[in-house]
């Protein structure tokens, strides 16, 4: 195969370049738009596979563009980046298919798909950012690209949600800017380097290093929805279903979590972070978020809001695993980054189908929907069971590693935390499944005028991702499974500490 040093850039440009074209396409050119969307998404998956194949064979990708003296825009394709890029490429393809069906007759499709594409480009940029400066750039781009998606419906409620979303994320972005500036000022570099770049600074000015850690984590914690910075996430549920799916599975929330991984491992270095005594508070925050999110989820009647609080809780598993500072926990964290994405996207797409097909938006309306939409609800149920942590599904694998990691780190209480969380997960998901499968539909619901048959564009994607949930759980130990990949990454981050 020929060598393509620009491959990461090309992958970025597939969606970045498609965005303006999609935006400029007239509203009526629906077919052209769909074709372009799918083609670009498919090409991207192919390119990512190619990139992974090359990278696995030792090709190093490293692209730099000097922006200011000493500051580069830096794209690279380390294993961690590859993992996140692969996740976003695959899920983007699925979500694009779903969106085509979802927005079939809706207004502003040009705008939607343009920004949708931009959003994925930002995610790819975040994944492949080789330094915090580049990360910041795409992090802000993500904010901007998602805003029009969140307010897509253009109602007062949507705009209010959008405003809250913007305020949270832009303030978080400002904090990240300040943190990046401070890192640049203190360490003289913003590069992501395994083992970190802060050793000297921490030795000389530990207080400054601690402050910087807090600042950066808080900045990223906004998007990662760490309590108490999570306020925007449940409100942003006014967005159309595919947007919520993308936001929760790969784009926004994951960008925050991914940033935390980069900062802890490659800006500070896990040992330094431990030495600075900042991982302990981070564990505490993560633990509180896990429990708090679950408790709030219990009380929600709106399906999407319940799922949103579930995300608050589940994404903090990643933070927890990172902060536990052991290789096993790290594997759990990284694996959960992928697993949670696949599970959550399934549930959101399924929830969207319920709303589209049956007009069901609340838990209390879910009686008997399993019989009305068996495929969709099967996918939903599978993902929910996985989320609870039932073996052999994906969620179980990551929770297993997290628990092991907790023991390895001497924090046995983590097991209690995970068990408690799983119980709560069960408490807020099982009633849904019970209603869907074991109760009869109320007569009004059965004859509701909102009922319509959903197209294959909508029905297929959640079933496909549910298939992923099954496969990555059952085949967790197969080569090239997400779990194996994370093992490989963690080996690298911990300098062969496994």
């Amino acid at each position: 195969m020929i060598d393509m040093p620009l491959l990461p850039l090309i992958i970025l440009m597939t969606s970045l370049g498609a965005a303006p074209v999609l935006l400029a396409l007239p509203e009526r050119s629906a077919r052209l738009r769909t074709g372009l969307n799918l083609a670009v998404a498919a090409v991207k998956v192919a390119l990512v596979i190619w990139l992974a194949w090359k990278a696995a064979h030792g090709v190093v990708y490293d692209l730099r563009l000097s922006v200011l003296p000493g500051l580069d825009l830096h794209l690279q394709a380390d294993p961690l980046a590859l993992m996140f890029v692969a996740l976003s490429a695959v899920l983007w393809l699925v979500t694009t298919i779903y969106s085509v069906g979802y927005l079939e007759r809706g207004p502003h499709r040009a705008r939607f798909f343009g920004f949708f594409s931009l959003c994925v480009a930002a995610t790819v940029g975040i994944a492949m950012a080789g330094n915090l400066f580049t990360f910041l750039l795409f992090y802000e781009l993500l904010t901007l690209a998602t805003y029009p998606l969140v307010i897509h419906r253009g109602t007062a409620a949507a705009l209010r949600a959008g405003r809250i979303y913007l305020i949270y994320t832009l303030v978080g972005g400002l904090a990240l800017l300040l943190g990046t500036l401070a890192l640049w000022g203190l360490a003289g570099t913003t590069d992501f380097v395994p083992g970190g770049v802060m050793a000297e600074v921490a030795a000389e000015r530990p207080a400054a290093a601690q402050a910087l850690f807090v600042l950066l984590i808080a900045a990223l914690g906004v998007k990662a929805a760490l309590v108490p910075l999570h306020g925007w996430l449940p409100i942003a549920m006014v967005a159309p279903a595919p947007v919520s799916a993308l936001l929760h599975a790969v784009a926004v929330v994951k960008a925050g979590a991914f940033g935390i991984i980069r900062v802890v491992y490659e800006v500070f270095g896990i040992e330094l972070a431990q030495g600075l005594g900042v991982t302990g508070p981070l564990i505490a925050v993560a633990a509180v978020t896990i429990i708090y999110g679950s408790l709030r989820a219990l009380a929600q009647d709106d399906i999407k809001v319940r799922l949103a609080y579930s995300t608050v809780s589940q994404v903090s598993y990643i933070t927890l695993g990172v902060a536990l500072a052991g290789p096993v926990a790290a594997i759990g964290a990284l694996a959960h980054l992928i697993h949670q994405g696949v599970m959550k996207i399934t549930m959101f797409m399924a929830a969207g189908n319920l709303a589209e097909g049956l007009g069901v938006k609340k838990v209390s309306q879910m009686d008997g929907v399993g019989r009305a939409m068996p495929g969709t609800m099967a996918a939903f149920s599978l993902a929910a069971l996985a989320m609870i942590g039932l073996p052999p599904f994906a969620g179980f694998v990551s929770k297993w590693y997290l628990a092991q990691g907790g023991i390895a780190a001497g924090q046995d209480w983590v097991i209690a935390l995970l068990l408690g969380s799983s119980l709560l997960n069960a408490a807020y998901f099982l009633p849904l499944l019970h209603r869907a499968w074991f109760r009869d539909a109320t007569p009004e619901a059965a004859n509701a005028p909102a009922r319509r048959k959903i197209s294959l564009w909508l029905a297929a994607p959640p079933m496909v991702t549910a298939g992923f949930v099954l496969v990555i759980g059952v085949l967790a130990n197969a080569p090239f499974s997400p779990l194996e990949w994370t093992r490989f990454i963690v080996t690298r981050e911990f300098n062969g500490g496994l």
Binding site: A24, S66, L73, A110, E140, G173, L178
Partner: protein, 492 residues
Amino acid sequence: MTDVMPDPLTLAILLPLFGAIAAFLLPRAAPAIGLGAVVATAAAIAVLGHLVVQAGTIFVPLGGWGAPLGIELRADGLALAMLGLTALIALGVGLGALAAFAGETEVGGQPMARQRAFFWPLCLLLLTGMNGVYLSNDLFNLYVMLEVISLAAVGLAVLGGTVAALRAGLAYMYASLLGALMMLLGVGFVYLQTGRLDLAGLAGAPDSAALSAAFGLMLVGLALKTALFPLHFWLPEAHANATAPASALLSALVVKAGLYILLRLAEAGPFPGEAILTLMGVLGTGAVLWGGVQALRAERLKLLVAWSTVAQMGLIFVALARAGLEGLSDSWRAAALLILAHAVAKAGMFLAAGRIKDVIGHDRISELDRSAVRPALAQLAFALAAISLIGLPPSLGFIGKWSLMEGAMMAGNWHWVAVTMAGTLLSVAYFTRALTGFLRFDRVRAPLDEHRGWALADAPPVVLAGLAVGLGLAAGPILAVLDLGTPFGAIP
């Protein structure tokens, strides 16, 4: 310089002048002549750029006399960057003007045909003045150039012919004249002290009361011309009530002339003290906050954009002050980057605002969302420009703000970082008001008129705003151009 004939510096000034003359003589052909002149000027600037890259700073002693007796033109990286910027914006605004003045008549204002005919001579005279300022190395000549700019700018500000525009134009005229006259008296004091008029004459001058008076007068005069808070009173109405292409030129370019001269004065030195520089930063802070608050309260879109100019100009002063006198030899870069960023973005934004106003029929912010017609591309251009003005990556505005904050942080001046952050938040808040109007749909009564494709009129704002965002990636080359001929001496 004599090997090239005639030299591109003079051409950069005289080509637009010839264009203005031709456009005035042949009103019907004015748009074609105007665009041709802008392109020719850009070509001269390209030649000049080639020379500056090769030789560094270039001096042209006009008439062969040389300073101090004669007037010298001087071109270095900073001048080159400003020339290029001005040509770019003139081209963009000129193309935008083709569409903006395409209609027949406007209620209560000048007939469109007259606006079209008079826009070009004035625009080209403005270009003559701007390019003259960038290349000038002589204090009195700078005063004359400022007056050329003033008259052309006033003409552009009142082009629409409405009462509001005329009132604002007259207030602008008075402020502009007073600023120029202060500059003139300052020049008198310089002559009193040094006996010469070239900028180089300032360099070796001893610190004295007369020189302080000269600097004081010139700084106040230029602050008035650049609308530094609290001398900004004339700007919002003048910029908001002009027709869109004129607003774009006024906001993007005209206010920059004063700033540029200020940079040149600071370069020539001796700058009258740390306290004055800090005061400029403090007033800049005032502008950032007051301009931001007023933009939040503005009822019309163009007024919001005009107030944002006040805030952004303030930010440029903060950039100059960010690291004190010691740091001035680097701070000017941050200021220059912000000048470039603001110019490109604001030109795009005003053109976009004009398009929005033309298509929707008004620019009342609270009622933008009632319109069934949505000029999608103009709104996109507005949003893109806003990204740069807010300072989000990767825009040029971001690079400018980054440089500002980086220098302030390195010098330990965290208060300037805080001001920048506050300004950023304010700008998010006020631009979101406009975006909300663009994106809200539940108050529309009539069926929505969907985006149906491109109109040529959308291209200039979209391209300018896109450049404002994209040029951030070219910050490296831009900085390299700025450093040609090492303005402000060697890099510290």
